[in-house]
Subunit: 211 residues, 2 copies
DNA sequence: CGTAACATTGATTGTCTTCAATACGGGTGG
DNA sequence: CCACCCGTATTGAAGACAATCAATGTTACG
């Protein structure tokens, strides 16, 4: 059962229709880790990162979310958000306030099923961060990240992304991510222009599995 | 609402009471990735790893589970298990067959809440693998792993664990995990005897945050 | 047009992997 | 009981890789 199906239901349609939308500019903080939960979020458009601040002040990105992804699910079982959520691009979100959740779940049992799907999706994405973005050489991890970023556009291009962001996703330094991106550019694996990059998915796939 | 509270409910008590338990020896496979889901599992006693096989044949451990942890939740939303589950020690599990789940969830709405708690716990553990076991130097990652393993026993000792297992958790080679464990032993940070290790949590915490 | 933030590059150091050899431990069959 | 054997752990030496420190380019924006 997809969220679209749920939305086609007349009752839910009106409920969802009434939900607030918000737009965030690049680098806007959506919520801070430890702050009390007010809503859960669904992405209409854009790219969001969930980051975790380490005891020594360093920062690690633990999730990348885009269109149709849901985040902030911990709101349903905990008082406080577990990560800091930041928009990596201009982003439009739909908010589902916590108080609405109660009525949604009571009126529509199938909504619980949708929540489980969202939760499992989060878990699968977390696993991707472990197996793809934290395993192997920095070069192959970067190749996998670029393939991930290019996914929505039939695998050939992706929006610009800062070297510091890449570094915090892969767990390397900005110098390393910059060097690798520059190498990819020189080798013709990617072709960057202001605001956008084209890439060669075949080459990236080879590098991604090379270790 | 805790699982204990649910279990104290008379109706659920009988349902849970009737559930099958199974014992697995060290290294036993509980289920294979891709196999069709039959049940979800709760750990009574022991230690279980969820592993992911990479395209190149290497293996990465994505989760460590112990007493009171639940796994195989993907059974609720997918046909197939997403990981291979293997017992790291002698382990006793309680199975909750999928067909039982339906009746449990229908009869006891609060059971859905428990499921969400379990799902969030899985997600938190996945995040731990990213932020603690995949970030920083191999040495500090190992220190964090040992602190995690020692947690149940007031932080001072843990059962023996193979170097290959450590390596697949931290994303390093067995040689590296062996060298680091040997160093810790020589420096008096840990004290290993057959089947069991004592450790110095204070020293481990310093190393864990050192990066 | 100046400046601050970000990206790139170089040189060096330290860490981790790789390949290879050796040691250990627990179980088996003689 | 002991010798052997296999799987695991340890250790060494060499090289690859990524971090660090430092300098220089580049870009966007007020």
């Amino acid at each position: 059962m997809s969220r679209e199906q749920i939305k086609s239901d007349a009752g839910l349609e009106s409920l969802f229709g009434a939900l607030e939308q918000r737009d965030y500019p690049e680098n806007a903080v959506i919520y801070h880790a430890g702050k009390s939960c007010e809503a859960l979020y669904e992405i209409f458009q854009g790219l969001v990162k969930l980051v975790h601040y380490l005891p020594n002040g360093a920062v690690r990105t633990v999730r990348l979310l885009r269109r149709h992804d849901t985040f902030g699910l911990e709101a349903l079982v905990d008082e406080h958000y577990h990560h800091t959520a930041i928009a990596l691009q201009e982003t439009r979100l739909r908010l589902i306030p916590l108080d609405r959740m109660q009525s949604l779940r009571q009126s529509y049992p199938e909504f619980s099923q949708q929540l489980m799907l969202d939760w499992q999706k989060s878990l699968d994405e977390a696993d991707r961060f472990i197996t793809e973005f934290s395993t192997g050489s920095a070069e192959s991890r970067l190749a996998r990240l670029l393939l991930f970023l290019a996914e929505p556009s039939q695998g050939c291009c992706f929006n610009k992304i800062g070297r510091l962001d890449i570094a915090s996703i892969l767990g390397v330094t900005t110098e390393t991510s910059s060097r690798l991106m520059a190498d990819f550019r020189r080798r013709g694996v990617i072709d960057c222009m202001p605001g956008r990059c084209n890439c060669n998915p075949q080459q990236l796939r080879v590098i991604a599995e090379d270790f």
